[in-house]
Subunit: 211 residues, 2 copies
DNA sequence: TGTACATCAGTGAACGCGCGTTCACTGATGTAC
DNA sequence: TGTACATCAGTGAACGCGCGTTCACTGATGTAC
């Protein structure tokens, strides 16, 4: 039987979340994770430095928790998108709009992922790359369900999914750079991203397996 | 009239280069630029910390010099590639081989660029993004010279060039991860990259300006 | 329910360390005559 | 060519600072009877 958490456990989880949020907030500015200090994080979270060790062994462990948190939100969005219908014609347009909205709503998480994907700490870098590879596999599976693509070989589906994902990842950079008060910039960026995805789909319609 | 540099100036340039090389070497490991200290760089270069200031105002200035150096090499490769012939059929295959060879030969520079493109210091990040934007523009111009594409609008050429560049940038990540002694991994990676670029070209052959 | 003890999230002082930057310096190279 | 002075790349000591981590602690929450 699972007991409901008492006030002590609740407060502990709150502090843990405060530490994660503090790190994200500091990371949203100039800093990269590697240059973020344990003391800065606890200061921002409003606890004493030593309290950190009640929640994480070191900064790496906190970073991995941030990776988890970031991809959890992304997977939820993907699941919602998958369960929707497929009008095909509007599919690209809707997916782009959903994606851009999601990234802007979770900008601190994506900023973190984008920086640390190529960044310093190998434990964090590898965790992010593993998640991205998983994301590519899932997208490849989804693509294979389309009538036009279900005769494709697995490796060709992965190749195409990789192309789509690298286009999306690159778009995240542009999305994060969007100034807050200029919707026309966001529109232009979305138009370009949509065109790029359509170009890929056009290419797929002519693709012949190259064996 | 320009005097030839004396022994003093020559030695100074040598130390400057030693500092740049030291930073690159340290960056090739676990560290990101933001976590790299001035003292570490001078230690690796074999000079005293204060000698640093004879060459750079601070670490940012050294970082910008590394950006310059990295893109200088890349532009030289591009220029060489542009001056070659265009067999069209083998064009993608040859370009991919040239690109992969160049990245592997300059792996430390590309590691630096890839990390700092999304990384901490805004001065360096902006310098890298400006160079990439320039690279996209040049590629768009080149693409516009192909008979099949010379009726395209400038913005569509830029859109396509952006797609190609984000594919290449993403490929750099994979290239840098290639283990040294496994040529079959490199082959597979190149095959995938080639397929992705061919897919884009196929899409381009069907593209209709969307006005 | 009331009491006595155990747990443990968060505190606060202390430590040794590497950092960026300052300063006065040394001695080889450069320049003027 | 030789001499006397100027330049300046690199040295070495010193500084104050924020860092990660240790330790013994406090007091609210949890548990057993």
């Amino acid at each position: 039987m699972v007991r409901p958490p008492g006030p002590r456990e609740e407060k502990k989880q709150k502090t843990r979340q405060a530490l994660l949020d503090a790190a994200l907030t500091l990371l949203a500015g100039e800093q990269s994770f590697a240059s973020l200090s344990l003391r800065e994080v606890t200061r921002e979270a409003g606890v004493v430095p030593t309290a950190f060790y009640r929640h994480f062994r070191d900064m790496d462990e906190l970073g991995l928790a941030l990776v988890d948190e970031s991809f959890h939100a992304l997977r939820q969005m993907m699941r919602a998108a998958r369960s929707g219908t497929l009008p095909t014609e509007q599919l690209v347009h809707r997916s782009v709009a959903t994606f851009v909205t999601h990234v802007r709503a979770n900008d601190r998480h994506f900023q973190f992922l984008l920086r640390e994907r190529a960044g310093g700490r190998s434990a964090i870098r590898n965790a992010i790359r593993t998640e991205i590879r998983l994301f590519i596999s899932e997208l490849a599976t989804d693509l294979g369900r389309f009538p036009a693509l279900n005769a494709w070989r697995t490796e060709d589906l992965r190749m195409m999914a990789g192309l789509v994902v690298s286009t999306l990842v690159n778009a995240v950079l542009d999305i994060l750079d969007l100034p807050a008060g200029r919707p026309e910039d966001a529109q232009e960026m979305m138009t370009v991203l949509e065109s790029q995805l359509r170009l890929i789909l056009l290419g797929a319609s002519l693709w012949k397996r190259g064996d």
